[in-house]
């Protein structure tokens, strides 16, 4: 049978979630200019996140953190052949419109930037470009997915070089999925109410025992062993923000984290790639961060 061969359907859920599927097992790296983007691509990053400042600098500088200057985003888009992501503020649908017009491949509606809406996230169904959003637990993940997120990431605490919060959030999501899948069908209605998530998504997770979209780990990953830890805890890939370009030898550390993410179950390989990487980023203890400065609390 001859089909209408010129007809293309763009922006479908399948092409949005599909790009995230292609990123699995990979490392997405924060970059602030074209030069860093090239280093990331050469190290084997599956995508880069174009930013004006990495989270550690946002934390240090304070003030309102916004979408990057379009010039920076464009320079990164033009400098690499791998997918480029960029961050908009939570609820700032105009920043999202701007980023889509610049041709970015994924938008991160991110708690790293200062939220502009304390009730509503962006309606991500309205966009052709796919979105990734942060979560600390299953309910938050499913709320973002119901708003149209095609990928999620556990939040961790960005810009700290301290992976403890990433571990907590990953374990929480995994434990809640295990809990859901042990419930009887009539209990899922109450579970949906407790999770503050749509019943249909809750039911899907209970039946399939996994999230309906790809989940990466983010927020505090600084070493190859950190990346492999998150992979062994069940994430599909990792975001490394400040951990690479705030370290002593970014190119070597980036390549080592890529290899540890692929071979996350092979301690000999993780040992080999962890040698002689120079200084890791200094890092911050979570208890030293005032509550108001904890980025993970942003998002509703």
């Amino acid at each position: 049978m001859l089909v209408a061969e010129n007809y293309r359907e763009i922006g479908t859920l399948r092409v949005k979630t599909g790009l995230a599927e292609m990123l699995k097992g990979g490392v997405i790296m924060d970059v602030v200019n074209a030069e860093q983007a090239k280093i990331a691509e050469d190290a084997g990053a599956v995508a880069v996140m174009a930013l004006e400042r990495v989270p550690a600098d946002i934390r240090a500088t304070g003030g309102v953190a916004r979408m990057a200057d379009p010039t920076i985003v464009e320079q990164v888009v033009n400098s690499v052949s791998i997918p480029v992501m960029a961050k908009c503020r939570i609820g700032h649908f105009v920043e999202a419109q701007v980023l889509q017009s610049l041709g970015v491949d994924y938008i991160d509606e991110s708690e790293v930037l200062t939220p502009v809406d304390d009730e509503h996230h962006v309606n991500k169904h309205e966009f052709t470009v796919p979105f990734v959003c942060g979560c600390r637990n299953l309910g938050e993940a499913l709320r973002r997915i119901s708003e149209g997120a095609a990928m999620v990431r556990t939040k961790g605490e960005p810009g700290t070089g301290n992976v403890v919060e990433a571990v907590r959030h990953m374990r929480t999501v995994t434990d809640e999925i295990a809990w859901l899948s042990g419930l009887r069908s009539e209990q899922l209605f109450a579970a949906a109410k407790d999770l503050q998530a749509p019943y249909e998504l809750v039911k899907w997770v209970a039946e399939n025992r996994r999230l309906p979209v790809v989940n990466f780990s983010a927020g505090g990953i600084a070493t190859p062993a950190d990346a492999a830890l998150m992979m062994q805890l069940g994430c599909d890939g990792v975001f490394v923000g400040s951990g690479i370009f705030k370290s002593g030898d970014p190119a070597a550390r980036a390549k080592a984290i890529v290899e540890a993410t692929t071979h996350f179950e092979d301690p000999e390989i993780i040992a080999r790639v962890s040698r002689n990487l120079g200084e890791a980023m200094v890092g911050i203890n979570i208890s030293d961060i005032p509550d108001a400065e904890r980025m993970q609390e942003r998002g509703w």
């Binding site: 359907e9 790009l19 292609m22 990979g26 791998i82 970015v104 796919p130």
Partner: protein
């Protein structure tokens, strides 16, 4: 029959699930030593630069070529199609390929993610109907093919699937559709027909 799926990065799990649904033993391949005793190898979609660098770092290029010479069939999807190609257009300066199939593949030829699309393609040789739902994600296309390469599908005039003896290249993603007919074609017609 054992079919390997290169499991360095990308959508390898989906290929394994499709093969298992066809009751084929699917093996995730992370080291070259695992290539022995495979009837076929699938190189999945992902980022061709990332997969290519990991293939280089772990010494996959020559062992895959040798196993292919010894009779292992190969199927590359999307990034995998780039990695099996003789020539890669719009490649990074140092980007390697296996140089096995006599095709020239252009990276990201259909555009960026906002241009990613689904479309029905006419795929000759599938059982039942030839119509197949193609999922194209930042997809390359096959810009030209050599003598001895059979064109299996086109979209909008561009070549999107091709076969050369025991090798198959598709620039779209049959592993994301739930429709097992391209996997069955690889297993029965290409691997089974060697």
């Amino acid at each position: 029959m054992r079919i390997g799926v290169l499991a360095l990065q990308g959508a390898f799990r989906e290929h394994i699930m499709m093969l298992e649904a066809l009751e084929v033993t699917a093996v995730p391949v992370r080291q070259p030593a695992q290539l022995g005793e495979l009837s076929g190898l699938i190189i999945p979609g992902g980022e061709s630069t990332a997969i290519g660098k990991l293939m280089d770092a772990y010494g996959f290029y020559d062992p895959i070529r040798q196993q292919h010479d010894a009779g292992m069939a190969i199927w590359g999807t999307c990034a995998g199609a780039i990695l099996v190609a003789h020539e890669v257009l719009d490649a990074l300066p140092d980007q390697q390929s296996l140089d096995l199939m006599d095709i020239a593949v252009r990276r990201n030829a259909f555009g960026r993610q906002v241009d990613s699309f689904e479309a029905d393609v006419d795929f000759s040789g599938l059982d039942g109907s030839d119509e197949y739902r193609g999922v194209f994600i930042r997809a390359p296309w096959i810009e030209s093919v050599g003598v001895g390469v059979e064109i299996l599908a086109r979209h909008d005039g561009e070549i999107v699937a091709a076969r050369q003896q025991d090798m198959l290249a598709t620039v779209f993603h049959p592993e994301l559709t739930g429709d097992p007919r391209v996997h069955r074609y690889f297993v029965e017609t290409i691997v089974g027909g060697r």
